[in-house]
């Protein structure tokens, strides 16, 4: 079946005419520069092509079943207004390349300019780039940037930063150039232990990295930390996995953060089994030239009309080559557009209301299970839409039982923190209806018997 020809318009006539113009006989003649003996003689070992309807059928069958979800930990189940997916489906947006030719890319460029502004408003920072890959790599870029700025080696990272984010930072870092010191959390609070942090906080520290809300869902209070970090000549880096929290939480910028880097998936981007997501990256104006990633700036055209262009490219790989601030080229443009539409649609009231709904639902869940035997909140500290539950039975067993009821009841923390071997990370969002939460609690109670 040659249905793939719908993607390749050449008829046999076309091919002949073109070969004649080129002055060769056969297609193969065009591949002469490939050494004879390496040219493939037999077809690739791949499945025979599927028809369009066959393809649709096959892939529908690979889908995962619908479940009641209480999972978070870096990916969140939030409502996405219909217009978000509707508008990003405009082919002028998604079939375009990076806007290297501004005159026919003003749509993408203005949207990114709006995105950069929205990120500043959300984080309380002064400048944002046009996006990085995801929260984890964004945080890693922040760490590298800090070292470029301070010229120092040591990075202090709170243990309450998403474990996978820490892994990515580790990978990005050059063991010979940088050194990581993990800062433990207060067992009773689930928050970074400032005392220990302050002990490590010396002149040689390039940056302190915390996450807020942290991996346990706990709202960190890093105001006291910021000052000390600055005094010691280091930079304060604040990461996050749940951008929605800033609908009600004080933006890190207001608290003195130097770099804010985190995940934007909650802002209108589907969970898609882990990607594509949105790496948010914002900092202070004075650090612009050290910033990774693309930037869109406002300017005027030869008629004096306002327009937008990619700017400050001298930081980037295609100009600076080996001396660039980062190697990023393709970023997450369309996801940034989704976030832009999402935020435009919600506005300040909507974002606040949505955040409050997440908080209220999580608190409702806490109240509900507070009556249950065999489990307790691990940390009393304030949280946003996630919290850690300590259980008396084997977590894996509990989750297995809930799963049988069609519920993904939480994430077992054992694989991330050996000491939290009887702990579940529970996430509750606006998508969990009251009855759903009650049902979950009820099945949990049953499982804990």
């Amino acid at each position: 079946m040659q249905d793939y020809l719908r993607y390749i318009p050449h008829t046999e006539e076309d091919i002949q005419e073109m070969l004649n113009v080129i002055g060769v006989k056969r297609i193969e003649d065009l591949f002469q520069t490939i050494p004879e003996r390496y040219r493939l003689s037999k077809p690739l070992n791949l499945p025979e092509p599927l028809s369009e309807p066959g393809l649709i059928r096959h892939l529908s069958e690979l889908q995962a079943p619908r479940m009641s979800q209480f999972l978070g930990g870096g990916a969140y189940h939030h409502f996405i207004p219909t217009i978000v997916s509707n508008l990003v489906s405009r082919s002028e947006f998604y079939t375009a390349y990076t806007p290297y030719q501004p005159e026919i890319s003003q749509g993408t460029l203005q949207a990114i300019f709006e995105y950069q502004t929205l990120v500043c408003q959300l984080t309380g920072m002064e400048v944002s780039n046009a996006s990085l890959y995801d929260g984890a790599s964004s945080l890693a870029e922040a760490v590298l940037m800090a070292s470029r700025i301070t010229g120092k080696k040591k990075i202090l990272i709170s243990q309450t930063v998403h474990p996978e984010y820490r892994q990515v930072i580790q990978t990005y870092m050059d063991p010979n150039q940088q050194e990581i010191q993990l800062i433990p959390y207060k067992k009773e609070e689930g928050r970074i232990d400032e005392k220990i942090l302050f002990d490590y906080l010396q002149e040689d520290v390039s940056a302190v990295v915390i996450q807020n809300p942290n991996f346990f869902g706990v709202v960190e209070n890093f105001q006291p930390i910021v000052e000390r970090v600055h005094d010691s000549g280091g930079l304060m880096i604040v990461g996050f996995t749940e951008a929605l929290a800033y609908g009600i939480l004080k933006p890190p910028g207001d608290l003195g953060a130097d770099i804010v880097a985190g995940e934007g998936q909650s802002l209108g981007i589907p969970m898609s089994y882990g990607g594509p997501y949105l790496g948010i990256f914002a900092t202070r104006e004075r650090f612009i030239r050290n910033m990774p990633g693309r930037l869109v700036g406002e300017t005027i055209d030869m008629e004096g009309k306002r327009g937008f262009v990619l700017t400050l490219a001298t930081r980037e790989q295609h100009i600076r080559r080996e001396r660039a601030t980062s190697n990023i080229c393709t970023n997450e443009g369309l996801c940034a557009l989704m976030a832009t539409i999402f935020l435009s649609c919600l506005g300040k009231e909507g974002l606040k209301e949505l955040a409050l709904m997440n908080l209220s639902k999580a608190e409702y869940a806490k109240r509900t299970i507070s009556k249950i035997q065999g489990c307790r909140l691990a940390f009393p500290s304030p949280t946003f839409n996630e919290f850690v539950l300590q259980v008396e039975k084997e977590p894996a067993r509990i989750l297995e039982k809930l799963k049988k009821e069609g519920i993904l009841g939480g994430i077992s923390l054992a694989k991330f923190y050996s000491e939290l071997d009887h702990h579940l990370l529970i996430t509750v969002t606006e998508m969990n209806k009251k009855e759903e939460i009650d049902h979950w609690a009820e099945r949990l109670q049953y499982a804990l018997r």
Binding site: T33, I56, A64, S91, Y133, I288, C329, C335, K361, I411
Partner: protein, 512 residues
């Protein structure tokens, strides 16, 4: 009152039918920034109904940690949001708008059915920490895609984790570094030809290698002798792009690889240009140890105006232990994610990669099959050679030899009329074509890098060719037409110097 502006659309009429698909006047809506619109109290959203008690935040969280003010953030009705972004989209140009011969970017058609499939609830609504017994389908998809890609480039294993080409490069170089470290070797240098893409250079830096530039020879490829000279025990790897950014196949690659290997180094291949090779030759057979693949190029996933993409990396067995975690594996009939790989470089990204993009590439490969992919490469190369053949004579061709999927011209012939590559590119816009990649690769002065891809029919390419020829004529007869271009779009040439001199990177109230 106001001034008049004269828009010359001469050629639009001049060439008439010979150049059929032409541009025309269009009505475009101006549209202010989203922040310059809206009003307090207006809303464009609808949230789930409150079904639990609504309690103010400060009841749970100390108000010192709560947001006390909002700068900006618009308030619009849903329709005004829809109009805003609909209008913005209309200022853009995509593959669905017309020919997009952006060299090195493989702007092929993005099948709509793949977009639909990626949007299926069982994929888009799936949490990455869902237990594996519920995700066998998606794990199978990833596992099979790994194998498909390995087969296509002739390597042993593949990781799908990298989010884009550049991250694929980093992942690959990290693995090489890790492998050398495991061998107790400390190598400091990486060889990179002067034709390389900027990401190769910056990647080697982030991987903390020192880059040594290799000059390409007069026929545009890496000279064997230079490698012989430069290759030593200090060199961790050679990063080569094949076909290279001149659209030329690196003929010496096999012998080069031998030398590199002999000195204990690795051959890293930038596979961004794989669209020329599918079913024709396997990079693995040419001595390549690591190669990254841009799914958003060769495998038809859309570029999204700058991403998301996906940059899987294919490797030879030797590097397997160092693959990022988790690795998707199959045991018996069960697929699972293996995190237990002590020598792994760790992770370059949260979770498993840009899954939504992977779905589209998987769907594409299944739609094409082995002959389809081969045909795609054949036609991509045919289109590029046809284009090159018909344009040479009108534009200077720095490397006059058969090309692969793309060809590179320069503005040398037009210089005498004081016309630059930029002028030519901007004039193309007036004719409704996206310009080629310009001023890259850097080794070519005033480069015009054209990649038509297999998606374009002969008619489409003929129209582009006739337009390019027409522009060459204009450069002689009426060069100002080019210098004034573009004239038919929303904005004319923009002042990039101003933008860089005093950067305005965000809206700042009515000030902006």
């Amino acid at each position: 009152m106001g001034r008049k502006i004269t828009i010359c659309i001469k050629v639009t009429y001049a060439e008439g039918d010979k150049m059929r698909r032409r541009t025309d006047r269009g009505l475009i809506q101006d549209e202010p920034l989203i922040f310059e619109q809206g009003r307090k109290g207006r809303k464009g959203y609808s949230l789930p109904q409150w079904d639990v008690e609504r309690i103010e935040a400060d009841h749970f969280i100390p108000s010192s940690l709560l947001r006390n003010h909002w700068e900006g953030l618009p308030q619009l009705s849903e329709m005004d949001v829809v109009r805003h972004f609909t209008r913005l989209s209309q200022w853009n140009y995509g593959v669905d708008s017309g020919l997009y011969p952006l060299g090195s970017c493989t702007m092929k058609y993005n099948p709509k059915v793949n977009e639909e499939i990626a949007r299926m609830a069982g994929f888009s609504n799936l949490h990455p920490y869902t237990p594996e017994d519920l995700t066998q389908g998606v794990l199978r998809l990833m596992f099979e895609l790994q194998n498909f890609l390995a087969e296509i480039v002739g390597m042993d294993q593949v990781t799908l984790q990298p989010a884009a080409g550049a991250q694929g490069e980093l992942t690959g170089m990290m693995m090489i570094r890790a492998c050398l470290q495991a061998r107790q070797e400390r190598r400091k240098k990486v060889l990179i030809p002067d034709t390389a893409h900027g990401t190769n250079c910056s990647t080697s830096t982030i991987a903390s290698y020192q880059m040594i530039e290799v000059k390409s020879n007069e026929s545009g490829i890496i000279p064997l002798e230079r490698i012989v000279e430069l290759m030593d025990e200090e060199v961790a790897a050679l990063m080569v792009t094949n076909p290279n950014t001149l659209g030329i196949f690196e003929e010496n690659l096999v012998s080069i690889a031998e030398i590199v290997h002999k000195k204990g180094g690795f051959v890293y291949c930038d596979g961004a240009n794989l669209n020329a090779l599918m079913g024709m030759v396997k990079l693995g057979d040419l001595g390549v140890d690591v190669v990254h693949i841009n799914l958003h190029k060769t495998f038809s996933t859309p570029h999204g105006g700058g991403g998301p993409g996906a940059g899987p990396v294919a490797i030879k067995k030797e590097l397997s232990p160092f693959l990022p975690i988790p690795v998707v594996e199959k045991q018996g009939e069960i697929y699972h994610l293996n995190y237990n790989r002590p020598q792994s470089i760790g992770k370059v990204k949260n979770f498993y990669g840009n899954f939504g993009v992977l779905v589209k590439a998987y769907a594409y490969i299944l739609s094409m099959g082995p002959e389809g992919l081969k045909r795609a490469s054949e036609m991509a190369v045919l289109n590029a050679n046809y284009l090159m053949k018909r344009l040479k004579g009108y534009y200077h061709l720095p490397y006059a030899k058969p090309c692969m999927h793309e060809c590179v011209f320069t503005d040398r012939f037009q210089e005498k009329h004081h016309i630059s590559t930029l002028d030519i590119a901007k004039r193309l816009i007036d004719y409704g074509f996206h310009p080629p990649t310009i001023y890259f690769p850097l080794v070519v002065k005033g480069a015009l890098m054209m990649e038509p891809t297999e998606s374009e029919s002969k008619e489409n390419i003929d129209q582009f060719i006739e337009t390019m020829i027409g522009i060459a004529k204009e450069a002689e007869e009426d060069p100002d037409l080019l210098r004034q271009a573009p004239q038919r779009v929303k904005v004319r040439r923009l002042d990039e110097v101003l933008a860089a001199r005093k950067p305005r990177l965000r809206w700042k109230g009515t000030g902006s």
